[in-house]
Amino acid sequence: MFPELIDTKPLRRAVDDALGWVVTNWGGAFEAAARPLLLLLNGIEALLLATPWWLIIGLLTAIAWLATRRWTLPAIVLVSLVFLGLMELWKDAMSTTALMLAATLTAIVLSIPMGVWMSRSGRVRQVITPVLDLMQTLPSFVYLIPTVMIFGPGKIPALIATIVYAAPPLVRLTDLGLRSVDPAIMEASRAFGTNPTQRLLGVQIPLALPTILAGINQTTMMALAMVVIASMIGAGGLGYQVLQGIGRLEVSRGLFAGLGIVVLAIVFDRITQAFGKQLQARIGLSEARA
């Protein structure tokens, strides 16, 4: 056994007391600050539930066709979504989609500027990279507990936990995409007298877009991976069905809801990937890398 050199009890008590102090004194303020997130999530959910099922299926199938110009992906999307409807999972699937979309949108708004900042400064990258590592490796329950204490069980902590888990890959891939733009093209742009903002918007972001899109794809996938855990603290949807299936030992319920999550993952993964490929082909990167 490792010798007991220091007494960790006071340290632990200090951390616990600090959290308690934050909850009692700042709980309301935190909740108010997170209100826009809740509004976003509720808005998306209400919109998805108010939209007739056939319109959603039609729209997603059409998007799939636009992304590939072939019939395979639209067919997969169509079958997958009809499966959700037939298995009586439509409403839950829409709640889960809403959580995923809200988390992804928030992650995009936060991660892309962060990635841009990282790509420009080595020092910022040195500071942010370990934070991202922490966000991805720290077991989610560790930060779920304090978020639930601060916000109370419900959708907000579920959404925040999902964002914390799903945002890092987008930050990393934005940074990577921006830094790996061909230096010869960047130099040419510099030689024509562009300022850093013109280079960012006119050269770096358009050329890094396939990589950034791969990051968005990763974020949607990781957000879907969080739905079961998120349902433990108050998010509804397919994750909640899985949780109930486990709780009641109803294997069928857990299995069908689980398959529903897989189906959603396939639909969003293939659509975002197809757009990424299309974009790469348009820029001409796919040939260069082949």
Binding site: A188, G284, L285
Partner: protein
């Protein structure tokens, strides 16, 4: 070189560039007499340019020729300050490039110097039209105007019909025409060309060289052209500077370099070169009163241009710009000039003597 300050477009004086963590200390060591190899092995600093001075006169194609690692690409990037020198001065039309603020430097790049790159540097996501208009767009020119201007230059470089193509759909030669049109569309006095034709096939390269020379004649731009190809340097250069290990070995008119190479290094290049292309008739003509010849060429003509004429004529006259005959050449004279170096056995070459001339 004997240009007065008023005729200078680009004035580079004593530029030294040292790559490494502490270039100023390395510079002090270099000035203190340390050799470049010592500097590199002991301190890890690489001397890119060593006290380079160069004047580029207005309206000329000035070629800087050197092998890879000679510092030529580093040198051209100092003119628009894509690279900061460790020491030295750079003036373009009298204004000190090194004293410019960031904003002044950007304005300088937008309006005074355009650049063409070896790897083209085109924006792969933009059409040919938008690539050619890129510099004008950065300058803030409205879309209608810049597209009209871009179309004009696309036409001139021979790419009409490709306006909406993407760079990757074009061949290397076509891509470099886009790069050239993009630089020309800016209508700057100075164009920097960094190994612009090196990535192209020999035939296409030759065509691009001809086009550049003829464009330069009509537009009278000042062009600083970097190449590793001695033939190319002789073909297009009004003046040529040979760079080796970051230092200028010789600078002069192409024929001066061919006829009087300053050292062994340059002699090596000269040995393999097509002298008929480098030597112009004005340097070898007989002057003095003579009867008008039945056929005549301008004084700028190259030996290779007059050689075919000797099949039918004994004398070929040489005309000045006004069309007056100022001299004449014979086949014997041309052959004598061409053979002067090639005929000499290698053992007899004495670089020290050559350098002393």
């Amino acid at each position: 070189m004997t240009t007065s300050p008023a005729e200078r477009a680009i004035h580079i004086e004593g530029v030294t560039k040292i790559f490494g963590p502490a270039p100023q200390q390395a510079l002090a060591a270099l000035r203190g007499g340390m050799s470049k190899t010592e500097l590199q092995t002991e301190t890890g600093h690489v001397v890119g340019l060593d006290d380079v001075s160069l004047d580029v006169a207005k309206g000329q194609i000035h070629v800087v020729m050197g092998l890879s690692g000679s510092g030529k690409s580093t040198l051209i990037r100092h003119v628009n300050r894509l690279i900061e020198p460790t020491a030295g001065a750079i003036r373009v039309y009298g204004s000190n490039v090194l004293e410019m603020s960031r904003e002044q430097l950007r304005a300088f790049r937008r309006t005074r110097v355009a650049m063409v790159f070896q790897k083209f540097g085109l924006l792969p996501h933009r059409s040919v039209l938008d690539n050619v208009g890129y510099g004008l767009e950065v300058r803030g020119v409205r879309r209608v105007e810049r597209e009209a201007e871009a179309r004009k230059w696309i036409e001139i470089v021979g790419l009409a019909g490709y306006e909406s193509a993407l760079p990757r759909q074009l061949s290397g030669g076509q891509q470099q025409r886009v790069g050239l049109a993009r630089a020309l569309a800016l209508d700057t006095d100075i164009i920097l060309m960094d190994e612009a034709f090196s990535a192209l096939d020999p035939l296409i390269r030759s065509g691009m060289q001809d086009q550049l020379v003829s464009l330069q004649k009509t537009l009278s731009k000042t062009i600083l052209f970097i190449t590793h190809d001695f033939d190319e340097a002789l073909k297009i250069g009004d003046r040529v500077a040979v760079l080796k290990d970051g230092a200028v070995q010789q600078e002069g008119r192409p024929e001066d370099i061919v006829l009087n190479p300053a050292n062994e290094h340059i002699e090596e290049f000269v040995r393999d070169v097509n002298k008929a292309r480098a030597i112009r008739v004005r340097t070898i003509m007989e002057t003095g009163p003579a009867e008008p010849c039945s056929i005549a060429v301008p004084a700028d003509a190259r030996c290779e241009d007059v050689l075919p004429l000797f099949a039918e004529h004994q004398w070929v006259g040489v005309l000045d710009a006004a069309g007056q005959q100022i001299g004449r050449v014979t086949a014997r004279r041309v052959i004598g000039a061409l053979a002067r170096h090639g005929a000499r056995p290698p053992a007899a070459a004495e670089p020290a003597l050559e350098a002393a001339q």
